[in-house]
């Protein structure tokens, strides 16, 4: 230590940089070690177990047939499963709709909340609160409103003359998917609004000011200054959000149970029904592995964009 400091004192600028890397070569490893070992300790066995089970026949109701069956589960998923293609389609539709709508509406909300107006603090707090609400509670709140007979939505729409007969929002094949999407938007938009609002606040005032001198309009400012500034935040939040929306189970499951007619059965819901509710862990795990690989593409894309966007340090 003494030697290092001496060296630094002699030739501060140059030596500092070298000393930085040389003596601290192992330091980042020490810093990440606790997390690394915790993750390995807690997650490696479960993930291994899922992969292992995906090559087996393992069904609580057919234990006599249990054993390794190679790629049979995957073959069934891709070639014989009538439900699988549909659930993939629903999942993709769900993720794309949720992420795009949350992003666009979240951006609008963030732009609104970034203006100065009376009671802004209170309005901000209220608008962002749904983000703190759990999936199960979201279901409770929205089911009360969607109810065909006693729900407020039917009543309001009838008073406004938009509909004339009560609609069973969660049972009608035309409305169920949209209804679930809206409920999830309710708690998803605030997440984007918060992150984007935070990013908006860190755009230096001077940038806008110099732009005003040029006489740029609001729309121009939005597209040429604000959005480029937000790009990194947007890349970062959308991809993480996509992973979460992909894997989200709680709200859809409690609201519709995946129905009616499997119209809201996403991949994770299908997997949960197969493994947890029907006891077919082998097949359910194989679906989990497919999910994992599918999401891996997302993550690689994420890391790649990360680099492309200049988010990689140094």
């Amino acid at each position: 230590m003494a030697a290092t400091r001496l060296a630094q004192n002699e030739k501060p600028l140059y030596k500092k940089k070298r000393g930085w890397k040389k003596s601290d070569g192992w330091l980042p490893y020490v810093l990440i070690a606790p997390t690394f070992f915790l993750i390995v300790g807690v997650m490696v066995f479960p993930i291994f177990r899922v992969f292992d089970l995906s090559f087996q026949s393992y069904d609580f109701t057919r234990l006599k047939e249990a054993g390794y069956i190679g790629l049979e589960n995957f073959r069934n998923i891709f070639f014989h499963d009538k439900l699988f293609p549909g659930t993939v389609g629903i999942t993709v539709k769900w993720v794309v709709l949720e992420v795009v709508l949350q992003l666009v509406l979240g951006l609008i909300v963030a732009l609104l909340l970034n203006e100065t107006f009376k009671l802004r603090g209170l309005v901000r707090s209220l608008v962002l609160v749904p983000w703190a609400v759990s999936g199960v509670l979201t279901t409770m709140l929205w089911s009360l409103m969607y109810n065909q007979h006693i729900g407020v939505i039917n009543d309001l729409l009838k008073r406004l003359g938009i509909i004339h007969e009560n609609i069973a929002w969660l049972a009608n094949t035309h409305t169920v998917f949209g209804s679930v999407v809206i409920a999830e938007l309710w708690r998803g938009i605030p997440f984007f609004a918060i992150t984007l609002l935070a990013a908006l606040q860190s755009i230096p005032r001077e940038v806008y000011e110099s732009c005003e001198v040029d006489g740029a309009g609001k729309a121009r400012k939005l597209f040429y200054i604000t959005l480029p500034y937000l790009k990194e935040t947007i890349v970062f939040t959308t991809l993480l959000r996509a992973i979460w929306e992909f894997n989200s189970i709680d709200m859809i499951f409690t609201m519709t149970n995946g129905g009616p007619m499997d119209m809201t059965t996403t991949l994770p819901i299908y997997m949960m029904k197969t493994s947890i509710l029907e006891g077919n862990y082998g097949y359910g795990s194989a679906i989990g592995v497919v999910t994992f690989l599918f999401l891996m593409i997302f993550v690689i894309l994420y890391l790649w964009l990360n680099k492309a966007g200049g988010m990689q340090d140094e």
Binding site: R5, K16, D24, L27, P28, L31, I32, P34, F36, L38, I39, G41, V42, M43, F45, P46, R49, V50, I108, L112, S125, V127, L128, V129, P130, A132, V133, S134, V136, L137, L141, L144, M145, I150, V152, W186, P190, A198, A199, Q201, S202, E232, T233, F236, N247, I249, D250, P268, M271, S275, G288, T291, F292, L295, V299, Y302, L303, M311, D313, E314
Partner: protein
């Protein structure tokens, strides 16, 4: 000549207030409807005539839900689990964030992948193997099994956030401190930490809300009612009162109060905090 600016001023006001009002309605309607429902008598709720202002209004539903459920116990358990988890998550995220923002090292990308890999399968598939692990550790029905799992599941996202915040602070700070003879740990915990404090509040809040709302793992690992957390209590309440909408609404509101209060209190830090990280990250 004079009219145009006035019209455009009114126009831009409308362009601002109408979307804002719509947003407020969308956000607040579920809360208001739940409050209204919770104050009604059960028979008024299911009548075809929809009441907006409950008459007569009653607090009976709240009394019933509060006395029939052990919410005070659940509250304590949730708080215990959440606080321990959040502290651990924050400390670990700072360490990881510092390592990942200040150093180039072999395996950094791999570590990132490991972090993200934990998020890529629905947790529900992990429940049984996790249960086996915790059983071997003697941690079944212990709040610490939840704490351990929450740390592992929340650290990845918070690390990525924290990395952004720390990257936002100039490296020269570290260098200057080192010249003064500060050790690396002192730099991390007494120099960098105060600078990124808003960011820490932000990650802490993310972690807290994630942990506070977690249901699945808590439900699977806790086997006696005295160890239940709030989400389990709520889910059980849904089962119990699924036909009684007014009680259900009252329970929802009770469940909403803690995260909403916390959130209102910290939201200003949250916004300041995230700004530093997300953009410069």
């Amino acid at each position: 000549m004079n009219k145009r600016p006035i019209w455009s001023k009114i126009g831009s006001k409308l362009l601002f207030y109408i979307p804002l009002a719509l947003t407020m309605i969308f956000v607040l309607l579920p809360f208001l409807w739940a409050i209204s429902t919770s104050l009604k008598r059960e028979s008024d709720v299911i009548s075809s005539k929809i009441q907006y202002i409950p008459s007569p209004a009653t607090l009976d539903n709240f009394v019933k839900v509060w006395t029939q459920n052990n919410f005070s116990t659940y509250f304590y358990n949730s708080l215990l689990v959440s606080l321990i988890s959040v502290v651990a998550i924050t400390v670990l995220s700072i360490m990881n964030g510092y390592a990942m923002s200040r150093f180039k090292f072999r395996g950094k990308g791999a570590f990132m992948l490991v972090l993200l890999a934990t998020q890529m399968m629905p947790v529900i598939l992990f429940i049984i193997p996790l249960f086996l692990i915790f059983k071997n550790l003697g941690l079944i029905n212990s709040p610490f099994s939840l704490v351990l799992f929450y740390i592992v599941s929340q650290v990845p996202f918070n690390t990525i956030l924290m990395r952004g915040f720390i990257s936002g602070t100039p490296k020269e700070i570290d260098e200057a401190a080192m010249v003064d003879g500060a050790g690396r740990l002192r730099i991390i915990f007494s120099i960098i930490t105060p600078i990124v404090l808003p960011g820490i509040v932000a990650t802490g809040a993310f972690a807290f809300i994630g942990v506070w709302n977690e249901f699945l793992v808590a439900f699977s690992f806790v086997t006696t009612p005295d160890r239940f957390t709030i989400p389990i209590g709520l889910k059980f309440m849904i089962g119990e009162f699924s036909v009684e909408y007014a009680s259900l609404a009252a329970g929802s509101i009770i469940g909403l109060i803690p995260p909403v209060l916390l959130f209102m209190y910290i939201q200003r830090y949250l916004i300041q905090g995230l700004g530093g990280g997300a953009v410069k990250g």
